[in-house]
């Protein structure tokens, strides 16, 4: 195939032109692209806030921005990154694009609802951006009452509304995925022939559907309290601020698995393709996704160890937190075992997958630190926790997201990205990341509290290291932006299956046609059966 072919061949990209053909599309692939653009914007917004945070923390005095501004910076950083970037990231882009193809469906079950959920994200995002431009919010992404309801003088209402609306975006995506996986599988596509990415997104969808409504209603209550002064959580009326924390974390702990499960799904695909072996212990890995989704709902109280929650509840939540760690550990071990006697390629997606496993392991293991009651008392609300979650969310999920983007880029666009640049930036990101966040573990144990705009002198050296790392990281993130754009025009033409991958999405042309399949395929192979692909001869792009 050549460049001319890719341009003449009918596919979802050239099926219609003009803004309207995009903004009113019901094609899950186009909606996925819309999501991709949206979340990239929010990643950059969040990243700019992060950069300002890091620059401010270069010096202990806190003399770049005022403390009020600083508080708004980390709040808006957290909100942009969590609610508008990371939660929609993998499911709504890669999931949206590939889930129907992987199970052999022409689209999601409810294409119009799919489009609606993108609009909801945009509307929610518009509220949030409005709040940011109008003056910002300073409650922290956790909105703890009574500060958020009574004492904050910032744009809490607009932001809460934005998150509320985007929450429905998340709910509808989840709903769509659940129905699609149950009702739209091609003949022969049994549950245990589903790619692990589908399992992961299915588990994620379950969390989205069961958890998100609770944070929605919690925000409604915060909203009512601010607007009508009715005081559901107001201690002056005998309300219970810790009840807010329960309701918030009932969603927000499971939400961290919304952020990591799809990433694990991506990693399962990548590890398998680039070692050309079925994932070791496929069933165990599939079930562990479901186990994480379910047990993830039983541990939220580990965010409340020092909140005046009862000691007994703390014990139960700490205990259960360790149960959720086991399925994660099992996944890591199975991925590693997949490499054994494989045929391992060092393509960029695989490098990201290695990065993910390593950094997720460190992030996850430090999760075990903070799940230990006596230890958490010392490090909660310090940079130790900040380091823990950045290791998982930035070191883990974003690595997986980038890995997945590289892996599926040829399918999405029909073009290859430049391999050497990609490898270089993966290395820069890995180094920059560790330099940014490893010092924060030490800072945290030494007692540096989080959300601090100025700090005692003895913490400075570590903060400087962290800022240096963040600069490297920022540059690392710039590279893919540039070369992905470049590849849209100049990248080598990819062909249908450049990696020699199994899976229905690789059986169709790149970029895929509008309705994916002219005829719904009948699945006869087991999942990850590479013998079929290799025998037919791998087409290398």
């Amino acid at each position: 195939m050549n460049t001319a072919a890719i341009e003449t061949q009918e596919n979802y990209l050239n099926a219609g032109y003009g803004l309207k053909s995009w903004l009113l599309t019901k094609d899950h692939k186009r909606i996925a692209i819309l999501y991709l653009i949206t979340i990239t914007i929010f990643f950059f917004i969040g990243g700019i806030f992060a950069s300002l945070i890091r620059i401010e923390l270069l010096t202990p005095q806190g003399n770049l921005v005022s403390s009020e501004t600083y508080n708004k910076l980390f709040t808006m950083h957290g909100i942009a990154m969590i609610f508008f970037f990371l939660i929609p990231s993998i499911p709504a882009t890669l999931g949206n694009f590939f889930l129907p193809m992987m199970i052999g469906a022409r689209d999601l079950a409810f294409p119009r609802i799919n489009l609606l959920s993108w609009y909801l994200l945009v509307i929610g995002g518009a509220f949030a951006i409005f709040a940011m431009l109008a003056g910002g919010v300073d409650t922290g992404w956790t909105f703890y009452t009574p500060y958020s309801t009574t004492y904050s003088n910032s744009w809490v209402i607009a932001t809460a509304l934005g998150i509320f609306v985007s929450g429905f975006s998340s709910i509808l995506t989840g709903l769509n995925f659940i129905v699609t996986v149950h009702r739209m599988r091609a003949p022969g596509m049994t549950w245990f022939r589903l790619p692990l990415f589908v399992w992961a997104n299915y588990a994620t969808a379950v969390i989205q559907v069961l958890g998100t409504p609770v944070v929605a209603v919690t925000l409604v209550l915060v909203f009512c309290e601010r607007v009508f002064h009715i005081g559901i959580f107001d201690p002056n009326l005998g309300g219970d601020p810790v009840l807010f924390q329960h309701m918030f974390w009932f969603y927000s702990h499971p939400a961290v698995y919304i952020m990591v499960l799809p990433a694990m799904g991506v990693i399962s695909e990548i590890i398998s393709v680039f070692s050309r072996k079925p994932i070791f212990g496929y069933h165990v890995v599939a079930f562990s996704s479901m186990a994480i989704a379910v047990i993830g709902f039983l541990v939220w109280g580990h965010h409340l160890f020092v909140s005046t929650q009862s000691v007994y509840a703390g014990l139960v939540f700490s205990f259960l937190s360790y149960f959720v760690a086991i399925p994660s550990a099992v996944k890591v071990f199975n991925w590693t075992a997949t490499l054994y006697k494989g045929s391992i390629s060092f393509a960029t997606p695989m490098l990201y997958a290695f990065g993910f496993i390593g950094l997720f392991t460190i992030g996850g293991l430090t999760g075990l630190f903070v799940a230990s009651l006596g230890f958490d008392v010392h490090v909660t609300d310090t940079y130790f926790v900040v380091a823990h979650f950045h290791y998982i969310m930035v070191g883990g999920t974003i690595m997986a997201f980038l890995g997945g983007l590289h892996y599926w880029w040829p399918k999405i666009t029909g073009r290859m990205y430049p391999e050497n640049w990609a490898k270089l930036s993966a290395a820069i990101i890995f180094v920059g990341f560790n330099l940014t966040f490893f010092p924060q573990f030490i800072l945290g144990y030494m007692g540096m509290p989080r959300r601090y705009h100025n700090y005692p002198d003895e913490f400075q050296v570590l903060h400087v290291l962290s800022t240096a790392g963040a600069s490297i990281l920022a540059i690392g993130y710039l590279f893919p932006m540039v070369y992905f754009m470049w590849s849209l025009r100049y990248g080598a033409v990819a062909g249908a299956n450049p990696w020699g991958a199994t899976g229905l999405e690789w059986t169709m042309q790149s970029p895929p046609p509008v309705h994916n399949f002219d005829e719904i395929p009948v699945v006869t192979h087991e999942v990850y059966d590479y013998s079929t692909v290799v025998k037919e001869g791998v087409e290398v792009g």
Binding site: A109, V214, L221, H229, I230, G231, I232, L237
Partner: protein, 223 residues
């Protein structure tokens, strides 16, 4: 657009992502059930707050609850149950392809829904007159602590308010159904929208079935 080419427009029937009408019907109904699951969790948050506070302030909550008019509440519950009854008869009419009956039952359901909302409005107005609206002018005679009493009424308003909001949305859906029913869009083969709207309407009813005893009844005996 190209995608629409092979979808028969007239009957609203099969969308291109589905293979069979069966698949489409099942997917829609299942989708609605999943949505109702999210609604359970949404109201669940409110029931949680209610349970916690009622447990913490049993006496004041009892007093505040008793100040509501249980007879009106019971009658309104009956109205809502009647509307569920007419709704289910409407769904049945649609299943059998009886257009006139469907239209009539939809109108009846809508009317009963309006009656419910009207009564609710009357009750809220009553609260306003009695200064039982949470906020600066709140005053609940009888309880030494105004705070917990206010918590009760806050929950009362948020719970009944969100329930009423769901009713309003439901009324919107019913009106849409009515419009299409009058134009004869639903047949015995294609009545999925009626079916799933029915699910929604009954669900809103179920929420009220719990709100009624929790808000109006359970401390009645203490007075």
């Amino acid at each position: 657009m190209a995608e629409q080419a092979h979808a028969p427009v007239e009957s609203l029937a099969l969308r291109e992502q589905f293979n069979t009408p069966e698949q489409q019907k099942e997917s829609s109904a299942f989708g609605m059930w999943i949505f109702l699951v999210t609604e359970v969790m949404f109201f669940g948050g409110l029931f949680l707050a209610y349970t916690i506070y009622r447990n913490t302030y049993p006496v004041v909550f009892g007093m505040a609850s008793t100040s509501l008019n249980a007879v009106i509440g019971a009658l309104n519950t009956a109205v809502l149950l009647c509307s569920s009854f007419t709704m289910v008869l409407g769904v049945r009419a649609a299943q059998l392809g009886r257009r006139r009956a469907l239209v009539i039952f939809l109108i009846l359901t809508l009317l009963l829904g309006m009656v419910f909302l009207g009564v609710k409005a009357y009750e809220w107005n009553q609260k306003f007159v009695e200064h039982h609206i949470p906020g600066a002018h709140f005053h609940f005679e009888g309880a030494a602590e105004q705070g917990p009493a206010q918590l009760f009424f806050s929950l009362y308003f948020v719970m009944t308010g969100l329930h009423a909001l769901h009713m309003v949305v439901g009324a919107g859906i019913l009106s849409w159904l009515l419009y299409h029913a009058v134009r004869g869009r639903f047949t015995a083969e294609y009545m999925t929208p009626v079916d799933i709207a029915g699910l929604y309407w009954h669900f809103v009813d179920i929420i009220w079935i719990f709100l009624f005893p929790l808000l109006y009844l359970i401390d009645r005996h203490m007075r």
